[in-house]
Symmetry: C2
Subunit: 643 residues, 2 copies
């Protein structure tokens, strides 16, 4: 076979490179041959979109155009991992920043208010002091470390201070380079408990009191890692960035990642992948505010228990196996250097405490930021991601549990399911006479599939119009081409091939519906068990708070109609977005909030659903639309009567 | 040139190897070619003797036979680095252990008494507890780390405990492997100051209270590293081992090592060399008591300030340059893992505090073990190695200084000087009429040179018999062939070539005498300055304690006669051997002793001789035999009158 010449132009640096490859090669292979690095967090499966390039001359055969819009394709954009070379090509590698912006959720950086009453000097355990030392002489041969300790004692009233060997190695040169005028950063957390303060960094020069002092809140989601860069002096969030968790390429859910990490070398790899993701995000956030990662002196980290174990390379196998035990719910304070984070090496890294194997620090942080633990009213808090974790309680008591809802609402396990990105059907309406659907597509182009909110509204509409019965069976006797017998039972056609981007029908099958019913039943059964446990009827819950990006887009009415959320007046529902990172941010800022998270973790009573003998019954009762017990869903009953 | 076949048999493993090398190759090159590793701490200069091999067939040309006795040579022993190949050879690599025993000072393992009143439970900060945990279940899903903390609280009364990430990673498997019966080792040092205790190790099984619990006292000398392996339960020293400091190959004295460490990569290399030396010694000591290095849970380390800095890879350059400042005199507690020691990774490593650039932890430890800091009587303590450090004081006050005496008394800087090993003239007598010498040789064979004690006795005898005048000049007008004009002034022949092992005359030259005078004058001037500083006449000192291996062999009378030691009744002198390792041992065993070392370091007043304007005068006054002021040496005056 003849070789083709592929010329690359790298927008970031202005550099060019060439490679010769035979017909049939993937573009990503040509890139590798040309020595051009491209990131592939999804492992080259066309899912993450990070290897996007623009073909400016010549054309490629596309194996998959997931993640690309018609417009993208028209402009020559292609995923290198999915593009087959069939001739000479001119290819541009776009600016990395531009790619990141296309993909990540930081397009809309939410305004975050600094908590009321925040003051660096009072709320923080981090201290910063400008110190002028008298230089040594033949008459004063005090060693550098004692000299610094004396300055801290006399100029900053720090009685006892500790220091790592690595930092000790640098002290002498910093003192001498800066002519004995330095800025010391310390963590005083331990000194309040009678221990010594800890020196985090020593920087040359005296600086100004207004100079920012950088820290980071980190939320390690199974799917997405989010970082907020925070100035501890003002308390303000100065940058928000997010990116897929690099571990995705080694398993989509926590169980498959635990299995991978248990293999030889797997734990090292898993830790490396998430550490790289965090480091890249910190780097990106720092670039935005013109800071350097080594200036970041503190981090507060949340994540589900598996994510925390994998970050710390602590064996996670026992999380997966009965009786489902974590090695540690509340890791000790550590330093960035200990786990390989590219911050200041002695930066304090505070992994917030979780409750159990499936209720992690993301939930305790969510409880903090959502206010469940301080309100008088009985509140139900739900965080839906790959799993659904929920908390019922108020300032006096809290019970919590986790349901393995599975990723159906993230579009997985559903034939035409997809994430909530361009081309996803996000809302559906079904005509109750013609059974013809109308839908809205993210980005406005032709549909490629259905995302979570679309699936919820589709199910609800099908049920209310009689396309589905209570048990979720498609009524194939309806007089419409939209319902038909598929390979796996009855199915409903949402979009005909002629209207879709890929030319195939977009359908929802019996198996899809069953998966969705299982997911919603697991979540609703969780609510039921929590309410039964404390003897509080679900309908008496004063507030229902929903965290996670999932909640941001769903239509409450539809979610209630399928029995995913309890039937309550709509004003009781509140969508809070990422409550986990917000909780991490609060704990990062204030020692009082930090202690409140620990208190929350201690106070929450965890209910292991697999050990609860009423769960199965509650689950089976919720496997109907909206539920076997219609008295729980009066508003849905009313709506059914209307249609 | 024809190649010769060299066959090696390795006694340690029973393995064999062969190499073909041309005439003129060194045996060490043949070893390298054959892939046989030999250690060469002296860098291949024939000084350390570690590359000794036995030629069983064929013969080699010896460049140098330093370190070998006639008997050794007769048996075919040769130093690989000094042996030139001239034909086929059969060579045996002896057991490493055998070589070590030939060389190191552990041939005579001194009986060390456990300090009175030592009791593990009361004297130690290390704790050991056998714990039985209740296993987790669906009804008790407490995480492993909390479960262990609960057991420590309820079964061992340990309120707060901290743990490294590395150890956290192992806890789950240790608990499960041992069926939830474990032994926890903790360091409670910080908990007495209000901080948490620190978990050092978690071992499967419950064990017995009598099982040994291993720890190590380490003395890093510039020349020799000494390790005592100590059972913390009984307090007994169970093994004593010593070996040349691997750094010797990169410089004999502290100044040249600081310079080497300041070069690119030098600090890493220096740390690696001494860490390897310590690890090898720990390994050897553990093998003797059938323990494993990872069972060692605590170490107390002493050494001069440069040795401590190089061990911790802390830049030492400022030690060498005026105003001679250490980066740190009292390093924080650290763990073995932090500095690469192959003990239990979380073993507590306690580097004892020093006082100044040239008065290190070896001296504070020496003051502890010699009792200077607790006695009522005014005591003078001297530790002579490559430098001479001294302390004058009692329980109420102490002053200290260091003299750069140089290594003359270790045989360096003296034409026929050598260390106190086989073939060294260790004592000399000169006939006061014929000026003919008589001498005693270590090992009883032919002499190869003169060691420190030999040089002291030689100087004293030459002075008393009039071969030398007060200023140290050789009286070349004497009627004896023994005195003659050499290349560098007058010299005295101690042994004729016919009597010596190498066939050359053994002489002491004018330059040698000058070097020795400088060394002794520096030390005596140090005594003078200390005494002047506190207004105590030297002759009123009640006790003179001498530490270091140097002291073990010298003749006090002769040392006084040359003015190295002050003229006092002999019963006031006491030789204590290695006071540094003994002090480390005491501090290792008892927290009270450990605190006393810190107190000693704080209390000692350091006098920098180079900043003292009376030092030069005191030094010049001491550049005579025994001193310009003969009234200071009444006993010597009396002896002179007798001869």
């Amino acid at each position: 076979m003849a070789d083709h010449t592929i010329s690359f132009a790298i927008a970031e640096t202005g550099a060019t490179a060439t490679a010769a490859v035979p017909t049939g090669s993937l573009l990503v292979e040509a890139l590798q041959k040309a020595g051009v690095e491209v990131t592939q967090p999804c492992g080259g499966q066309g899912r993450c979109g990070r290897c996007i390039v623009q073909v400016t001359d010549g054309s490629v055969r596309r194996r998959s155009s997931l993640r690309l819009s018609q417009e993208d394709i028209a402009q020559g954009y292609a995923l290198a991992c999915q593009s087959v070379v069939e001739g000479d090509l001119q290819v541009v590698i776009p600016l990395q920043e531009k790619i990141a912006r296309r993909l990540t959720t930081d397009r809309i950086a939410a305004e975050v208010r600094v908590p009321e009453g925040y003051e660096f000097a009072w709320s923080q355990t981090i201290r910063r002091y400008s110190l002028s030392l008298s230089p040594p002489s033949m008459d004063d041969q005090t060693d550098d470390w004692s000299r610094l300790q004396t300055a801290l004692r006399t100029q900053a009233n720090i009685g006892r201070v500790n220091c790592s060997i690595a930092l000790l190695r640098r002290i002498g040169s910093v003192l001498r380079e800066s002519d004995w005028n330095v800025t010391a950063i310390l963590d005083a957390a331990a000194s309040e408990a009678g221990g010594p303060a800890r020196l985090i960094d020593l920087r040359p020069g005296l600086g100004s009191e207004q100079d920012p002092l950088w820290s980071a809140a980190v939320d390690i989601g199974t799917t997405t890692v989010t970082v907020w860069l925070v100035d501890l002096i003002s308390g303000q969030v100065k940058a928000q960035v997010a990116e897929y968790n690099g571990q995705i390429a080694r398993g989509e859910d926590v169980v498959s990642r635990i299995i991978y990490a248990s293999k030889n070398g797997g734990a090292d790899e898993m830790q490396g992948l998430v550490v790289n993701t965090i480091n890249a995000l910190i780097e990106l956030a720092c670039r935005r505010v013109k800071a350097r990662p080594e200036q970041v002196v503190k981090a507060a980290v949340v994540g589900n228990s598996t994510m925390t174990h994998l970050l710390l390379k602590i064996p996670a196998a026992s999380i997966r196996l009965s009786p489902f035990i974590t090695a540690v719910n509340h890791p000790p304070l550590m330093t960035a250097g200990e786990i390989g984070l590219n911050l200041c090496p002695d930066a304090t890294v505070d992994c917030l405490p979780g409750v159990a194997s499936y209720v992690g620090a993301d939930i305790t942080a969510g409880v903090l930021s959502s206010g469940v633990s301080t309100t008088e009213e009985v509140t139900l808090f739900l965080d839906v991601g790959t799993n659904g974790e929920m908390v019922l309680g108020n300032r006096d008591w809290m019970v919590t549990c986790a349901c393995s809802a599975g990723p159906a609402f993230e579009g997985a396990g559903v034939v035409d399911g997809m994430r909530a990105t361009e081309g996803a059907i996000e809302e559906v309406w079904v005509n109750n006479e013609s059974y013809e659907p109308t839908y809205r597509v993210i980005g406005g182009g032709k549909p490629r599939g259905i995302c979570g909110s679309g699936l919820i509204s589709l199910l609800a509409e099908m049920f209310l119009t009689g396309v589905l019965d209570k048990a979720g069976n498609v009524n194939v006797d309806l007089k419409t081409r939209r319902v038909r017998e598929g390979d796996h039972g009855g199915e409903y056609v949402v979009a005909w091939g002629a209207e879709t981007e890929h030319g195939r029908d977009i359908v929802i099958t019996h198996v899809d519906i069953d998966n969705l019913l299982r997911a919603k039943a697991a979540i609703y059964a969780g609510f039921t068990i929590l309410a039964n446990q404390v003897g509080v009827p679900l309908e008496s819950v004063a507030k229902m708070l929903i965290g996670g990006s999932f909640g941001k887009y769903i239509n409450v009415e539809k979610a209630v109609q399928i029995g995913l959320l309890p039937d309550m007046p709509w004003e009781r529902f509140e969508f809070l977005g990422n409550t986990a990172i917000r909780g991490a941010y609060y704990a990062l800022l204030s020692q009082q909030s930090r202690e409140r998270v620990a208190d929350i973790a201690r106070r929450m009573t965890y209910i292991e659903l697999s050990a609860d003998n009423t769960f199965y019954e509650a689950f089976m009762s919720a496997m109907f639309l909206p539920h076997t017990d219609m008295s729980r869903f009066p508003a849905v009953e009313a709506a059914l009567r209307k249609t």
